[in-house]
Symmetry: C2
Subunit: 207 residues, 2 copies
């Protein structure tokens, strides 16, 4: 006991959070039982309530962290006035594919929770609205020059997300149907870092 207070390698509270993050992100709120979390964390069930008060409060924490991770890295890139549209496309694509390769379940989690609506997602709406505003502010001029209308902004956001995020949502299908293993899938995603910006530009200029 030379050290001050490093009891376990990781504090119990952190172990619970890690277990909860893993399970909630994989399976969603309803499918995860508090006992699953306790077992995954290797702790007594009562500790979950001791540290986090309730399953729902614990979930809220994980949800906020996940959403933050999902949108956070967009801000600095979109906010960098020195980047051209091409550079933005390339950077956002690369940065996102890297992050999602590390957290492949994140998009599905987000979609799942947005769908279960509930009222608690107001803060998400706000956060996404910020990103969207930044995106529009940053891209709208360029788009207007290319004669792409405002309503088509919706299409562009869908295309952007569809080409980058969808593969991770569909990863289980892709792996099963195409008999990819994780490494092969990741290699495909690595290729997409270069391809998606090219494709997006091709889409934007297609008659």
């Amino acid at each position: 006991m030379a050290k001050q207070k490093l009891k376990a390698d990781v504090s119990t509270e952190e172990k619970i959070k890690q277990a909860a993050r893993k399970l909630f992100t994989e399976k969603g709120f309803a499918a995860v039982k508090t006992r699953d979390i306790a077992e995954e964390a290797g702790i007594n069930l009562a500790l979950l309530n001791y540290y986090f008060r309730s399953k729902e409060k614990l979930f809220d924490i994980i949800m906020i962290e996940n959403f933050d991770q999902f949108v956070q890295q967009l801000i600095p890139i979109l906010g960098d006035e020195s980047l051209s549209l091409d550079e933005i496309l390339t950077q956002v694509t690369g940065s996102y594919i890297d992050m999602l390769t590390q957290n492949p379940d994140l998009p599905f989690f987000i979609m799942n929770e947005m769908r279960s609506d509930s009222t608690k997602l107001q803060f998400v709406k706000d956060k996404m609205a910020n990103v969207r505003a930044a995106f529009i502010k940053r891209v709208e001029d360029t788009l207007l020059k290319k004669k792409i209308s405002r309503t088509n902004m919706g299409h562009m956001m869908m295309n952007f997300m569809g080409l980058i995020i969808f593969p991770f949502v569909a990863q289980p299908i892709m792996m099963k149907v195409n008999k990819f293993n994780k490494n092969e899938f990741d290699a495909l995603m690595e290729e997409r870092k270069k391809l998606v910006p090219i494709w997006l530009k091709a889409i934007m200029t297609a008659q």
Copy 2:
């Protein structure tokens, strides 16, 4: 009582299935309680077990029907030798967007259940494998002529699904962030019937 045996407008069994389809498709297996289904169907809880034996058996039925609907309509189009690649793209896109506009929760359900794996999805794997084989058989020659490699088939499938299916998976986000209502969203999807084939061709021929 002139008629033979038409008791209710819809048989109790069918009412239960409709309620189950709605709820399971919207929220997934774990989040739906048998009492929710009973209430939605306007029937006594015991009837669910009387007709379908268990929640899981009922879910299996819904799952199979949903998967069938998801892949069914592809077969006749892909199998029609008289169609050009362009025509296939156009028809599949149109047919799919129509179907998904009627059943917007279907893609999410499929992704969700593929992810929860379980072993019971072998039949799905087989079904998807058939569609994939038909797709490859139908498209591979054309792709080879365009110097698109076999590994890029994976990208093409992702792009195809990403541009068509993803918007429906992300519909809740799109509607919240962009403040679309259902009609506006559907109008966008209607536009995509023409746009997605153009975009896909642009992608395929992009340097």
